[in-house]
Amino acid sequence: MNQRQLMLGNEAIARGLAENGCAVATSYPGTPASEILSSVAALQKEHNMPMHVQWAVNEKIAFEIAYAAAISGLRACVSMKQVGLNVASDPLMSAAYMGTKGGFIVISADDPGPHSSQTEQDSRMMAMTAKIPVLDPDSPQQAKEMIGIACALSETFEIPVMLRPTTRVCHSRQDIETCQIRPNDRKADFQKNPARWAATPKFRYQLHSELDEKLAAIAGYEKTAPFRVNPEADADRAIVVSGVAAAHAREILKDMNLMWNHIPLYQVIQPFPLHAGFVTHLLNTYREILVIEETMPVIEMQIADRSKVRGRMSGAVPGVGELSPEIIEDMIRTFTGLPSVLSEPPAVGGRRPTLCAGCPHRASFFAIKKAAPKGIYTSDIGCYTLGLNLGAVDTVLCMGAAISQAAGFYHAYKNEEKKPDIVATMGDSTFFHAGIPALVDAVVQKVRFVLVILDNRTTAMTGGQPTPATGCGALGEELNTVDMEALVKGCGISFCKTGNPYQFTEFAALMKEAVKYARETGPAVVISRYPCLLDRSRKAEQAKKIQVMINENCDGCGYCIQHFECPALVPVEKEERTRIDSMLCTGCGVCIHVCPKHAIEEKN
């Protein structure tokens, strides 16, 4: 029975996987891709499908697990955000050469804007570098349909296929037509072939030639060919669109009334390899071609005649940022000779993101600043990046870099007389993901720094996915756990102590001890352990609430707001007393230790 259901783009992608017999789905969480795997897990449970669904420790490992299933003949999918694909790029490049047996889909979600990412990179460029085809959906509905297309494409040519949704596809909801769930009915059957699956350089050359032949054939594959959106329109110029920009452009052209019939519009669903016949058709038919795509000129570069093509490379499309519908409307107007109507939204500042009221990270950061007030603070990717607001984060590069950058600063200051204290902060999930090799390196190199592992027992920023220390999987099933203290010690760390940041006095003393140890002896690790307040499964582990009040010592100096920045502390005019927002306050009681005038106290 087919029926329409409201689905998030990521849920629609998951539904597509369940309707196409996917047997193995793996991922590491990252906005905007996270809900893909959790939705697959929900469907697996609901329909009791024979499927392996897992959160892996990082994207490289997620990729390799799914890939092995695919070369055993099963349909498999690995999903991640675009910067996660950087981590998985090593297996990606090789898997392209070796190819696959079962349909293998690599989903890499891009974030033009960026809304919640370090970069605006275009995963389609990675597909181009790896030489695999990539599909670019314009909506949740199309993303779901593309799963079936990708499986067929992958199995026809024995090649990994990338699906590249963007934030606006992942995080839109749409009424989606559902089809029958189709559980996997294949048996794993790995056929040994060392010349392929363990190819040495000589055979890699051969595989590379075969890959190029596959790509040439895919550039003529009918099911992924570009299509004409408005066949009636006729002109000597045309617009080529892809991804969510196609959805915006269709709506804008319809709104512009006459334009719908006056400017030929083509939608590309497979930006790489661009269909060879399509390129020839465009160049033979039109005098001028405007290409609108996110975020890099992938289609544009493949239309070789620069004199006819308008896009990012010609300056017709802005080089950075998301292509909002307003920008697209303006580009279409300019391209068709109409006056510009683009106006900037008024600059009324919204609220900046901040750590939640009562977040244990805030207490950790405050203790770090007390223990090493003039230190260099390297940090990492997670909610705790927002320690920026507290002045407790100086660097954020990429997953795991807090430790290696701390080491780098230590070596950089080697010949200086005054050496700064260096404190690195990293979440538990990030530590498992990319921190361990960096910590081993720091131990070997005798780096004097403190690593504070902000262990809130979950992957908080992306919605609370389990970590290797959680003891359960994507389906809630019981799994093994890894002992973090033993792991840290196993890396060669002698000073490894665990504290509770809510017990602030003791925790601040522990931080001072660690900073002193690092100054005099060598690397120290503090595990700051308290469950994320948003983690409903750990409510029982939370401390008893402490009711706080502001007493007459408060002169509204704003110290607490500037240095502790808890949303429950409400700023006031000077000389008035700071207020506590009882709706937001979680009763952690840490602010009692923050006010230098002892104006915050426990209510009796």
Partner: protein, 173 residues
Amino acid sequence: MNQPVNQQIVISGVGGQGVLFITRILAEAAIRKNLKVFTSETHGMAQRGGTVLSHLKVGEFDSPLIRMGQADGLLALKAENVRQHSYFLKSKAWTVANRTARESAENLFSVDADGLAEKSGNPKSANLILLGFALKKIPNLFCTFDDVKDVIAEKFQGNGKMLEIMQLSVNRD
């Protein structure tokens, strides 16, 4: 044949207020009425206490986003969002806002949803109170109070408490 329903509504607030929740209720109501629907949401880091904005488009649309000057209405869960997001509105559009005596705008309806929520003993339910208020105040909305009631009964296990809260602002009149 009825006139096609095409409505674009911006819903805004800050992280934790339940902007996405009421967007979802309205989107489910659209599906129940056999209308096509798109919503667009804020997730991830931006959501942590920052401004949260969602777009709801009911009817024949291709794009999930509302362009500036195209929205039929704005549902503002924070008073400050009225000024911040009114640029989405077309002329004669409506605004429903959470306690905003100081703001002035055309077709502005406001109610102290935070105050009512706190009084009701469910301080985090201002979103539902404002939704109930909007459903009663705005004429020609694509769905009615009863449509939303059905959605809540079906999708959220007929939570009577939620319906009671949605009525709060209405009973006051």
